[in-house]
Symmetry: C2
Subunit: 413 residues, 2 copies
């Protein structure tokens, strides 16, 4: 069971968490709980780090190992408090920090990846004392240096799934402030429906494409280790919880629809290079300097220019990297050889996801027609086996999402 920051925001909310834990214990389960920092605490700690590190000497660069030491304290507090609340309810419980289990990570402090989790102490405590493990999420230890590491924001989901794999859990329940995964964002489409089940691959696409229910890395881990993962609400009455959404193998979903959900991401910016010489090595000339600057390029389209001799190359980058990317490309103008550079950051990527697309042709084509009928211009398209994405003007986001949600029959209950 994993509980995020809003689910443990204060002691009253932590008592509610204990209610959910008790229900599962009463149902005969052995439980490990992964917790985040109380909501707001991580932001407070991060702001102190930035204030401490801001100065003339190092600029915005600071020692990520100290960042991790400071920020990991947030989860430490929650784990101790939940253990106390569970004990107070008469349940055996103890807190575990990342370094105590240990949760071993690589040395990429601030955004570390879990290398291994030793869950043996937790399993032993279950067996000997039926003791509930309350584990601080988001954190681990770099075993060579013995320093505290953190997985980066949202890393507690990953901690939970990795721990579930380590102790061979039957399932991993991620409690959050929504009651499951929806066909699309209900704030945009009021008719959006909660999905009972979604395939790992679909969830991975949805998470990558802007649905913020689960961290991408946690879905990858769940898929690789085949951990049945429930997304459910911690705000339910613990005695009478709603079902949530099960993320599972494709084969476990009996009635698979063609389209499962519509995701969208406003965190996109488009860059177009006009009249690029159509010769070998030009793609490398464009994308190598961006890669060197750690800027992730997503949709790439190449079309013949008006002059029939050169090509126009359009691609997207994260909105936060837009200005940096423009500067890099302007500097590389002579190396690349282009006539003009243009960009836009008022764009949105709308994606249609569903494993059913594998066996159905024409799914994307119907979307292009429907969007055209609404006068929505498509700036770029990418497709993969189980999804396709269109880049459009941000002003049309809601219209496009609603149009596609209806088109694929997701409105019907």
């Amino acid at each position: 069971m994993k509980f995020g920051g809003t689910s443990v925001a204060n002691i009253e909310r932590i008592r509610n968490v204990a209610g959910h834990v008790r229900r599962e214990v009463d149902a005969g389960h052995e439980i490990a709980v992964v917790v985040s920092a109380m909501s707001g605490k991580t932001n407070e700690l991060v702001s102190w780090v930035k204030e401490a590190a801001c100065g003339t000497r190092n600029g915005p660069v600071y020692d990520q190992r100290e960042y991790d030491t400071v920020v990991a304290s947030g989860e430490q507090v929650t784990s101790g408090l939940l253990a106390l609340v569970l004990q107070n309810e008469g349940l055996a419980a103890r807190s575990w920090q990342g370094w105590q289990l240990p949760v071993s990570t690589d040395g990429a402090h601030g955004a570390a990846r879990i290398a291994a989790i030793d869950g043996s102490a937790i399993v032993k405590a279950f067996e000997e004392r039926r003791e509930i493990a309350v584990v601080s999420g988001f954190q681990g230890i770099e075993p060579l240096t013995g320093r505290i590491s953190t997985l980066g924001r949202g890393g507690s989901d990953t901690s939970a799934v990795a721990l579930a794999a380590a102790i061979r859990a039957d399932r991993c329940d991620i409690y959050t402030d929504v009651d499951g995964v929806y066909t699309t964002d209900p704030r945009v489409v009021p008719k959006a429906r909660r999905l009972d089940r979604i395939a790992f691959e679909e969830m991975l696409e949805m998470a990558s494409l802007g649905a913020k229910v689960l961290q991408v890395r946690s879905v990858e881990l769940a898929m690789n280790h085949k951990i049945k993962t429930y997304v459910r609400s911690s705000f339910d009455d613990p005695a009478n919880p709603k079902p949530g959404t099960l993320i599972c193998d494709e084969e476990d979903i009996v009635e698979q629809e063609m389209v499962t959900g519509i995701a969208f991401s406003k965190d996109e910016a488009q860059i177009t290079l006009r009249r690029v010489a159509d010769k070998p090595g030009v793609a490398a000339a464009i994308f190598t300097p961006l890669a060197d600057a750690n800027i992730n390029v997503d949709m790439i389209i190449q079309v013949v220019s008006d002059d029939q001799l050169t090509t126009d190359i359009t691609f997207t980058v994260p909105a936060g990297e837009y200005e940096r990317a423009m500067v890099i490309l302007e500097k590389a103008r002579d190396t690349i050889g282009y006539a003009r550079i243009a960009g836009a950051d008022d764009v949105v990527k709308v994606s249609v996801v569903g494993v059913g697309m594998r066996s159905h042709a024409g799914v994307a084509a119907s979307a292009f027609r429907a969007l055209a009928q609404r006068g929505i211009n498509i700036r770029a398209i990418t497709t993969s086996e189980i999804k396709f994405s269109v880049l459009i003007d941000a002003a049309y986001t809601e219209l496009a999402v609603r149009t596609l949600h209806s088109l694929y029959g997701l409105d019907k209950s």
Copy 2:
């Protein structure tokens, strides 16, 4: 160098701490810094623990191991932040948690005692990289269980002195919100003077008797390991600090006065049992049940009662234990055999401290006369080699302290 909670209350104050550290580094010293939690943080964490543990099942009793896990996070934050600020000033620095060095303690969670500190990693880092160690005070690890332990409130002073002993430091500077040890509380006696030096034994008495500058345990440790300890102000200009007070061996104080200081403690309550049978074993009957309840008995006076057949026994207990002690003694009335019980918690213990008393007779007698001349009734007296204490009505506290301060020539500068 040790900095308490008010000295690290926010990033601005932590930058000021870094200024003190830089001055000592520039003077050619190798530095380890021990830090407390930012002021207010420990109280916040403790209040959450109490809220988490307060319920019908366990009452006010809770798992001290979880308390330690939660509360130790406060120092963890400060150590990381100070390391970042020092790095930002161009100094090599890193944070160390209790479990990382390790600081090994016994298993008395919530009030643990340090068993050993391994300072070798700190010394190595000094030598190899001139790296300043920023150590979280107040915390350690219980090595058998691997759980985080804390030393109890004020324990950071003890951490600092114990670390100074472990790394064979030349001295231990305790930075606090006062600029040294005074002849008495300057809020009571405006003429109170800062002492340049005070002997370990005197400081131990002053700390035990109510002067709150240093924790008693830290003075004991400093005395046992002969660690020269400075008490000084973190609120000074780092570039131009005031001297503070050196706590040192008696032999290092050239001009020893007869009396060094006047301490007083309002944390006292008096209990008198009237007409106790004057027979063997009666003291055990009174004090054993109190000891069993962990109530510390201090001043004890036994005088023959009015009836010349029985005795009256008067003693003091900490004010916070007064009501509990009264209940225990009323329950034990038949076992003890007394006629009446009386108590008062509006009393104060005033103590006169000075190693010079060893070689001067009549020091206490002059105090009794001076207090009698002011009409102050003495309820009880205790003496030891280097101090004597009188128990008086709390209303006379200021008058008594000022009277004694003048009497022993402490007013003169």
